[in-house]
Amino acid sequence: MEKLRGRAAALLADGSVALIIGYEEGTKRPRPLFCRNSESTKKLIFDSRCINNLAVYITKKELVGKDRIAVTASISTLRSILQLYVENQLSEEKLLVLTVDLNGELREFVTFDEISAYVAQFELKRGEREQEILSKIEGMNREERWKFWLGEMSHCFKCYACRSACPLCYCSKCVVEVNRPQWINPWPAPLANMEWHINRAMHMVGRCTACGACGDACPVGIPIDLITRKMMKDMAPEFGYIPGQPAKQGNALSSWKLDDREQFIR
């Protein structure tokens, strides 16, 4: 921790970066912290309780400005950073990535290739809650699944916390705000909510890095992260990509294979 704070303070002091996005203690659990001077780096912490995906801030222009910034990144955040890089949202010159590895050592990444190599050592983990709900859903028949999700969707009030917390939802105008035509009904109602979440899942196919930020953010406890995670679980082997290790030549839906499955096509 002290190493992290020290390094952060030094980076700010010598002007290598203008801002360090990290974590501090919050009222319930650690929360994002924005250090613009050495003094504030004393509040920096980094441990397993730090679950906010900080990659969400890196694409916010008004926050990061034009200067180089640093971010303390969890594995999830690292994966998101890689995906953002592939989607042309980040540049190596403007970003320094810090993390603390399993041995408690401070690691610094200057290039995305370094991040990619580092991330490759880690497997995607699945939480107990996730597994529990997933097996519950997998045990249902179609009608039951429909009822289950419709029930969940009836709680959604379209606060878009899922969208706001997701590092990959960086569009300046989301499809739900497009009204010519009005693709997705903007009011909260079960079907309109269902449309939104199906749409979100489609947009995440091959992009989602399973950080779980959307599910964590949902104030009404809808396990929305399961939709994208389940898709990832099923689609990654099918389309031949490695979750969290994006390929530069496009993502699952902007590429194809000659022998993609098509037995459902008559």
Partner: protein
């Protein structure tokens, strides 16, 4: 609709201009007959067909949907149908996870030369959807607002 008449499903077909639309033209020039339930919307390519259109179709009262384009390798634009195929694989998986009745979406490859295949596709799809009945499960919730909804009342 009185109770003793047969349920006539509303089905929309999203087809590409070069293969299936032309195939359906051939069905016409060959004077093959099929059910009137299906109405064709023309797209340049299956790659152009937005999954949201399929969702909106059901929300607005469609009982079934046909999506059809060129056979693999035959796409006028080389790879639009391959992109589409991927999109449908993912879309079907999501719909199925959410419990949407994916039997109501019939995907097909119908080439410009397959006039009779188009007629068969339409007739089969109509009878299959007719057997499934109206998609009220989906359409009912489209009007949910009227009930002055509140938490948990789906």
């Amino acid at each position: 609709m009185s109770s003793n008449t047969v349920f006539e499903p509303k089905i929309i077909a999203f087809v590409c201009n070069w293969c299936t639309y032309a195939g359906a033209d051939l069905t016409g020039t060959s004077r093959l007959k099929y059910a009137t339930n299906v109405k064709i919307v023309r797209f340049p390519c299956t790659g152009r067909i937005d999954f949201l259109l399929l969702l909106k179709s059901f929300a607005q009262g469609a009982d079934g949907v046909i999506v059809s384009g060129c056979h693999p390798n035959d796409c006028h634009y080389t790879s639009g149908n391959f992109h589409a195929r991927r999109r449908w694989i993912a879309f079907r998986a999501i719909l199925d996870l959410m419990g949407v009745d994916i039997r109501r979406i019939q995907y097909s490859w119908v080439s410009a030369a397959e006039g009779s295949k188009w007629a068969d596709l339409v007739n089969n799809t109509v009878s299959e959807i007719r057997a499934l009945g109206p998609y009220t499960e989906y359409q009912q919730v489209a009007d949910y607002l009227e009930k002055g909804g509140y938490n948990g009342e789906a």
